[in-house]
């Protein structure tokens, strides 16, 4: 009975383990278990994560190279709406679930070390587990509706996990902005969800793909306007999830949260948007407007994000903008129909950026600051972390033979085939700028002279260093994974010229950055570009200000206006129309001074009056 | 003329100091060529320290030596020379603030007898044990 297939059939249990751990963690809130500390919550969740990992792995092996299976669980049947939760069991979904649980396991071990001084383990681990559950459920589920539900729950999760250190004011605003921005995306997606159903009668991704085929082949006719509107809504949802321009700011602010949560957020949580986008690609492809939107947003984010990253002085923020960059590249891939390349990029980015943030956090943990300009000279004391950081860079940018090279290469080949030269340029530019930003960060942290803040820098706790090192090993093995699981989407007709060009773009970025920050630490390289451009990048295109004067101001002023209207116009008018004299309260004031009997008397008289009033009404007919 | 150690041994009121110097193994150094300037606390000065202080030091010669070295300056510094200085570099390496106004003060101690000449240096007797910091 307990053969591998059994584990595949019970894959719905995978999200349940972490969820169970999350529920049990509640007992380690300060209000319950008081005489001993909260750490058991962490160990418990580690255990459930291991179980989930083992289960996913066995199930993955069971479905490997098997045809996709579907499971469905009935949830709600009302009127003509039948909501069943369909699960897709394929090597793709279960493979993704393995990746998610592995990353979660490492992150949770890392958290043991990173937050060893924290007393909020119950909360942090239950939230980490909630994310694990949500993410595995998301990859397994085959329905837009349930994906939407999970995304919304994760939005709430983001709010709570960013708000983990709620004593700090910037955390509070960061959590707020993350929640609201993501919610905007969710609701636009909801609009798409609502609009899609009457047309298709299904929310299942696989059936949506069939429907798209039908529309394409002309057996179904839908007006182009409708398709465009729906397509735009479906693209707009992931824009906020994936921190794409102009809804990218929340990711920056979310950096106020504890670093271990940042790891997951930047590597896999933002990728949920990309995942849904990939799943919806057939529908989006129906509308040139929607595809165009994805391409535009993706291009701006890819290049803009990388440029902004190169101008940040805060270590975490460099990484946050790079996430926007890579998500932008995924948008481009989806916009041009290269879903396989997009998924591969999701994978390589998730793995490499996990390592990137882990090693950065390991530095921040005992350098105390996050300010890159106050760091330097760490290489000799922190070589392990430095090496991990280098591996992460190699695994992220287009540097053969490391992981990040392959999806970019696949994308470029696809773009070449369709002759989209502009997009090729954008991908190369983004890659070059990202390389520049990352090597700059490496140089600022590890090279140059030690500063007062970095004078003392032993390698940190083994619980932090060990998962980082393991992660580095995984990053180095990505190319092997790509080969062994034949993840590389294009026939291996590698175009050498293209490969060299991609390599060259990385090399230029690395070389330029090395010249400024590694070999010779230029005191103020910002002098090299105009001050205005630098400020524009350092302050993130002034996006916060733009928000302030647009959306925030609009809602704020509108609410003040309606409040004023409500108090002085609506209420005032109604009062004026005839009740004002009575409402002065004088007439009935004496009641309040009276005694119980008086109240009773009044009740009685009211009843009589009402009865009279009633019968009068009837008699008057 | 006797050297610094000999003066201390032969003069009354320096028995604690002498014992300390012996415990710290500094006899040789203070009997050497020099020249050295020594701020020598009296027995009364040591007695002002809270109970146990001296005993702990005597039990730990290197630490005691360090405190004692703070009372010694290289060179022969008479009161008139010191009057021109604000501080002197001790053998311990921390500076010793000095003031010569109406009174001759060394850090928070007052010199009760200045310019006692020895073959290998000069001694100023002080009424407090001085400490670094």
């Amino acid at each position: 009975m307990f053969n591998a297939d059994f584990f595949a059939q019970t894959s719905w249990l995978i999200p349940c383990y972490p969820l169970f751990g999350a529920l049990l963690s509640i007992f380690w809130s300060p209000a319950f278990i008081r005489r001993s500390g909260p750490r058991p919550a962490g160990y418990l969740n580690l255990l459930t994560t291991v179980i989930a990992l083992v289960h996913s792995s066995i199930a993955f092996m069971a479905v490997w190279q098997q045809p996709t299976q579907f499971l469905s669980l009935s949830w709600l049947q009302v009127a003509d709406l039948n909501l069943t939760l369909p699960l897709e069991l394929s090597s793709l979904t279960l493979g993704a679930s393995v990746v998610i649980t592995v990353l979660n396991l490492l992150v949770q071990i890392y958290t043991v070390g990173y937050l060893e001084m924290d007393w909020g383990w119950g909360r942090i681990y239950s939230l980490l587990a909630l994310f694990e559950a949500g993410l595995t459920a998301l990859v397994l589920c085959d329905s837009l509706f349930f994906s939407y539900i999970l995304l919304e729950i994760l939005t709430l999760g983001t709010y709570l996990i960013v708000g983990f250190w709620f004593n700090q004011s910037l955390v509070v605003t960061g959590a707020r902005d993350a929640f609201l921005t993501k919610r905007v995306g969710d609701l636009i997606l909801l609009m798409g969800v609502l609009a899609l159903y009457p047309l298709t009668g299904t929310w299942n991704f696989s059936e949506l793909a069939d429907w798209s085929q039908a529309v394409l082949s002309g057996t179904q006719s839908v007006s182009p306007l409708t398709l465009s509107l729906i397509g735009v809504a479906l693209v707009a949802g992931p824009i906020s999830k994936c921190a794409q321009f102009p809804l990218h700011l929340w990711l920056d602010e979310a950096m106020e949260g504890p670093l271990p949560t940042t790891i997951l957020r930047n590597s896999v949580v933002v990728a949920t948007g990309a995942w849904v986008l990939v799943k919806l690609q057939p529908v989006i492809a129906l509308s040139p407007v929607a595809s165009g939107l994805a391409l535009t947003i993706g291009s701006i984010s890819a290049v803009g994000g990388a440029l902004i990253a190169a101008a940040q002085i805060d270590a975490k923020r460099v990484l946050s903008y790079l996430t926007s960059t890579y998500m932008g590249l995924i948008f481009i891939a989806v916009g041009t129909g290269q879903t396989q390349a997009a998924l591969l990029l999701v994978l390589t980015h998730a793995i490499a950026s996990t390592l990137l943030i882990m090693s950065t956090g390991s530095i921040m943990l005992n350098v105390v600051v996050q300010d890159l300009t106050q760091m330097g000279g760490l290489w000799s004391r922190r070589p392990i972390t430095g090496l991990c950081f280098l591996v992460a860079i190699a695994g992220l940018i287009g540097l053969p033979p490391f992981g990040g090279f392959w999806p970019l290469m696949a994308m470029l080949e696809g773009l070449l085939q369709s002759g989209q030269w502009g997009l090729i340029g954008i991908v190369l530019l983004a890659n070059g700028a990202a390389s520049f930003a990352l090597v700059r960060m490496f140089g600022l942290m590890f090279m140059g002279d030690r500063t007062a803040f970095t004078a003392r820098a032993p390698e940190t706790l083994w619980l932090v260093v060990l998962p980082t090192a393991v992660m580095a090993g995984i990053v180095l093995h990505v190319p092997l994974m790509v080969r062994n699981f034949s993840l590389y989407p294009v026939d291996s007709s590698l175009s050498w010229t293209l490969g060299w060009t991609l390599f060259l773009s990385s090399a230029v970025g690395i070389a330029a950055s090395s010249a400024f920050y590694v070999l010779e630490r230029i005191e103020n390289p910002t002098k090299l570009i105009p001050a205005m451009a630098n400020r524009l990048l350092a302050y993130d295109f002034y996006t916060p200000k733009v928000y302030q004067v647009t959306a925030i101001a609009l809602v704020d002023k509108l609410s003040l206006l309606t409040d004023w209207l409500d108090r002085y116009v609506v209420d005032g008018l109604v009062n004026f129309v005839g009740l004002s004299s009575l409402l002065s309260g004088e007439a009935l004031k004496y009641i309040n001074t009276g005694k119980l009997q008086l109240y009773a008397l009044t009740i009685a008289s009211f009843v009589v009056v009402i009865c009279l009033y009633l019968s009068w009404g009837y008699l008057a007919l | 003329m006797p050297n610094i150690v000999e003066i201390a041994v032969s003069t009354e009121g320096f028995s604690t100091l002498v014992a300390a110097v012996q415990a710290a193994g500094l006899v040789e150094a203070l009997s050497g060529e020099g020249p050295l300037t020594v701020f020598a606390p009296t027995d009364d000065a040591f007695a002002k320290l809270p109970p146990g202080t001296v005993q702990t030091l005597v039990d730990n010669p290197p630490q005691l030596a360090r405190i004692l070295k703070y009372h010694v300056v290289a060179g022969r510094w008479a009161q008139s020379d010191i009057a021109k200085e604000e501080s002197l570099p001790s053998l311990e390496s921390s500076p010793i603030p000095v003031r010569v106004n109406s009174a001759f003060e060394v850090k928070n101690a007052t010199v009760v007898a200045a310019d006692i000449e020895a073959t290998n240096g000069i001694i100023h007797v002080i009424d407090n044990v001085i400490l670094m910091g």
């Binding site: 300060p30 009127a79 309606t562 009211f606 | -």
Partner: protein
């Protein structure tokens, strides 16, 4: 057996008020809890007896009372009333649980609460228009006292305002009822008779309009809502729970039962207008809530917005949307009760409801961590986060309405976004942040204060995860309501054709 729901609380109320024995505050409270608990248990029994397959009314009880007036004691139950009665029984118990143990004049207070509960149950069960109206109107009296005696600042003003508005609403409703019966050609106020009356469409529309104004004041919908913030804010938390959780539902219930139920054709004709009205209410309530500095006022405006969803579901008039709307009434009642209860606890402990004075209540040792956590939960439930009951009811309304009134529905979706905005403001200011060292010596939260919150939160969560337990009761009733409309453009409209038309319809809304 339905009568028990009315007479048990009323009998309890009378005994509590006039029994010549000495009762301590605690005992009075326990007695009230026992009575309302008994009603609650009886409601559970009703659920077990309820026949899901029957679309029309069941468990009828009829006693001729004043045939001359056409007033009969005529009670019956369908899915809609069942939900409302259940809400009433539950929230009465919660409200009594939630009231302070040291309340002044406890016997009088609890007896009034029970009285309200019994009366409201009667209104929800009444099969006679006049009986409904009588019970609807008589609620005013105890509520007036509950607000004006036990309320907060400006309570007399608020109570009077409430009284006058509701009385005015009553006048409209009465006019509507009388008109219906009169024009229907009978002198019998029974609901059955009214159903069968054949009134020409234009007249129907006029009558419906009158009823809409009447019930619209009670719900309230904009612009008849200004009594609500004042009243909710002045009322003490238990009374606010009754007002917002149960009494407001008299309005939506009335609209569904007597507006939509009696004049389905007129209802369909007015549909687009109602949808716009609903969307406007949603947006207006949400936007105005954002500007509020007083938590209770914020929740009050939020309530206006949420009643808009109910109206939208009704306006769309598809089976799905009506089920959604009925469920939304319940979910709104539950969430609002939870919110008011929590706000009440916060106010008792911290001494203020002002957002700019509250801070850091999530602090585990010196704050109100559990209350704060539940405040987050209820705020998120209200903002429609999945997994909590608010989401699924709103979603059903949206999905049901989208194919009929897409634009209005989308505006309502925007409304849920705005709901998230003010709840995040509320949570950020109240729960997050640093506790003020000067003032943070608050009393402990007692278990008695926790119980109602736990019960409600558990229901909110359970029904959110397992919504079929909520929607199944009203399904056949909604089907019956929809079926009353001869022309289509209803449930079957989830078809391609219609929806494309309706996209166009929506465009010129």
């Amino acid at each position: 057996m339905l009568s028990l729901l009315i007479w048990l609380p009323i009998l309890g109320a009378l005994l509590l008020a006039f029994l010549p024995i000495k009762l301590s505050a605690t005992n009075a409270r326990n007695a009230a809890l026992a009575v309302s608990g008994a009603s609650l248990l009886w409601t559970v029994v009703l659920f077990t007896r309820f026949d899901l397959g029957t679309a029309s009314f069941q468990m009828r009880e009829f006693i001729a009372w004043l045939p001359l007036l056409g007033l009969d004691y005529d009670l019956a139950l369908d899915g809609l009333s069942l939900m409302m009665v259940a809400l009433n029984s539950l929230l009465t118990w919660i409200a009594i649980c939630s009231s302070s143990t040291t309340i002044e004049r406890p016997r009088f207070f609890y007896s009034l609460m029970l009285f309200v509960s019994g009366g409201v149950a009667g209104a929800f069960l009444a099969q006679n228009l006049l009986l409904f109206f009588f019970l609807f109107e008589i609620e005013l009296v105890p509520l007036y006292f509950l607000i004006s005696v036990w309320g907060g600042e400006k309570r007399e003003y608020a109570a009077t305002k409430f009284l006058l508005y509701t009385a005015l609403a009553g006048a409209f409703i009465f006019a509507g009822f009388v008109g219906t019966v009169w024009l229907g050609g009978t002198l019998d106020f029974s609901y059955e008779q009214a159903l069968q009356s054949e009134i020409p469409l234009p007249t129907q529309i006029v009558l419906l309009g009158i009823l809409l104004v009447g019930f619209g004041i009670k719900i309230p919908l904009i612009p008849f809502h200004t009594w609500l913030p004042d009243t909710y804010v002045s009322a003490s938390p238990p009374v606010a729970i009754m007002l917002g959780g149960v009494l407001a539902k008299l309005g939506t219930y009335g609209i569904f039962r007597f507006g939509l139920g009696l004049f389905p054709e007129a209802w369909s004709a007015l549909g687009p207008f109602l949808a716009v009205w609903a969307a406007a209410s949603v947006l207006y309530g949400a936007v105005t809530a954002i500007a509020q500095k007083d938590i209770k006022r914020m929740v009050a405006y939020s309530s206006i917005g949420h009643m808009g969803y109910v109206m939208l579901g009704g306006a769309a008039f598809t089976e799905l949307s009506v089920v959604g709307a009925i469920s939304q009434m319940v979910s709104h009642g539950l969430i609002l009760a939870l919110l008011f209860h929590l706000v009440g606890v916060v106010e008792t402990k911290v001494g203020t409801r002002q957002l700019d004075q509250l801070n850091g209540l999530l602090n585990p040792l010196r704050g109100l961590p559990l209350i704060s956590a539940l405040l987050v939960l209820s705020g998120m439930a209200s903002a429609g986060i999945p997994g909590l009951v608010g989401f699924i009811t709103e979603f059903l309304v949206f999905q049901g309405s989208y194919s009929v009134y897409p634009i209005a529905t989308l505006f309502c979706v925007v409304g849920t976004g705005l709901t998230a905005v003010y709840f995040v403001i509320l949570i950020n200011r109240t729960c997050f942040g640093r506790l003020d060292n000067e003032t943070a010596y608050y009393d402990k939260v007692t278990n008695g204060e926790r119980v109602p919150a736990f019960v409600l939160a558990a229901i909110v969560l359970t029904l959110g995860l397992q919504p079929s337990w909520l929607v199944l009761w009203s399904e056949s009733t909604s089907a019956r309501l929809i079926a009353a409309v001869p022309i289509t453009q209803t449930a079957a409209s989830l078809q391609l054709e219609t929806s494309r038309d309706s996209v166009n319809d929506g465009a010129h809304l």
